[in-house]
Symmetry: C2
Subunit: 208 residues, 2 copies
Amino acid sequence: MSGGTGKDPSRLTPRGAATRDRIVATAADLMHRQGVAATTLDQIVLACDVSKSQLYHYFPNKDALIADVIAAQASRVILHQNSLLEQLHSMDDLEKWRDLLVAGMHRDAGYRCPLGSLANELVGRSGHAHPLLAAAFDSLRDALAGGLARLQEEGELGSEVTADELALGVIAALQGGYLLAATMQDEQPFRLAIDMALSRIRALAADR
Amino acid sequence: MSGGTGKDPSRLTPRGAATRDRIVATAADLMHRQGVAATTLDQIVLACDVSKSQLYHYFPNKDALIADVIAAQASRVILHQNSLLEQLHSMDDLEKWRDLLVAGMHRDAGYRCPLGSLANELVGRSGHAHPLLAAAFDSLRDALAGGLARLQEEGELGSEVTADELALGVIAALQGGYLLAATMQDEQPFRLAIDMALSRIRALAADR
């Protein structure tokens, strides 16, 4: 998945493709930790030990690199969520998914969602980035809505609210939960946010 | 309210205080629209027509100015929310508060919360800013929790969940709702997020 306007990856040698991937991975890591605007091309070049002319060989400018960082982070998050949510077939599975997300908060000390933090910094500010981020959140919503729609079809969950709407509400709660958890350096707001959103779904399931 | 490490505002002449306030207001506006890292002192100086030495007279560095921007935005948001939430005495009042927030989404084309966007960019990245932002969200939670606690005391709302926890869950939903609304350029995710969180509170009220 490549959203950048840099050199077409399919035309690269294996070694060139590896260098390109390393630049994107390093940039993604630095931008996640420091922010996009605070991350300079000089820092990226230094951190992955390539020359600036090598970087420009793959990416004509920072915007092209940012587009590939978004594509890489979106691909990672969406693949991971798809693999989890494909297994969603019952309300018990939904609770297991919730537990996995909460457990994930322990591991990531920063409490940051890689997509959420990119969206917060870039949306409305970079014309390039905006549609890529909107598409990434659409895919996330689709992944969760697909699972919830299965629960509705199988009669585990009421259909008074569409699966798309439920999914979007849950994803918003997760994003706000990440932000408050990071701000308060405490996972509690994340747990409260996801449980408040899921309680709506639990109520729709209990009405069956 | 001043959280900065710049010149003590109480020692300024009225004209000096006005200049200082103008610098903070201009910086707050630019940082809200562009992001903090993307906003340079040169842009601020240009936008409010002061010299760079005047700016340094009031703020020794960008961090000091950022601290005052956080304080100014927090004060504005919290005063506004306090004035709304002091009037929260019934579930109907809660629905009116919800309607006001949703109506506010129409006005602000950017769909951004001034505090949320500062937190997203600065939390975990600027040691200075973090405690100021955590305190601001604590105050917001207290404002909403105060109103919800009144509903619990007056018997309109069950007490199975503490007012603090309900308030934190709602604020997380609002923050995520702002982010998704900005990303999708659509107020729908904000409405879904707030209604999903409030449905938990409505259920606690219905159980009475």
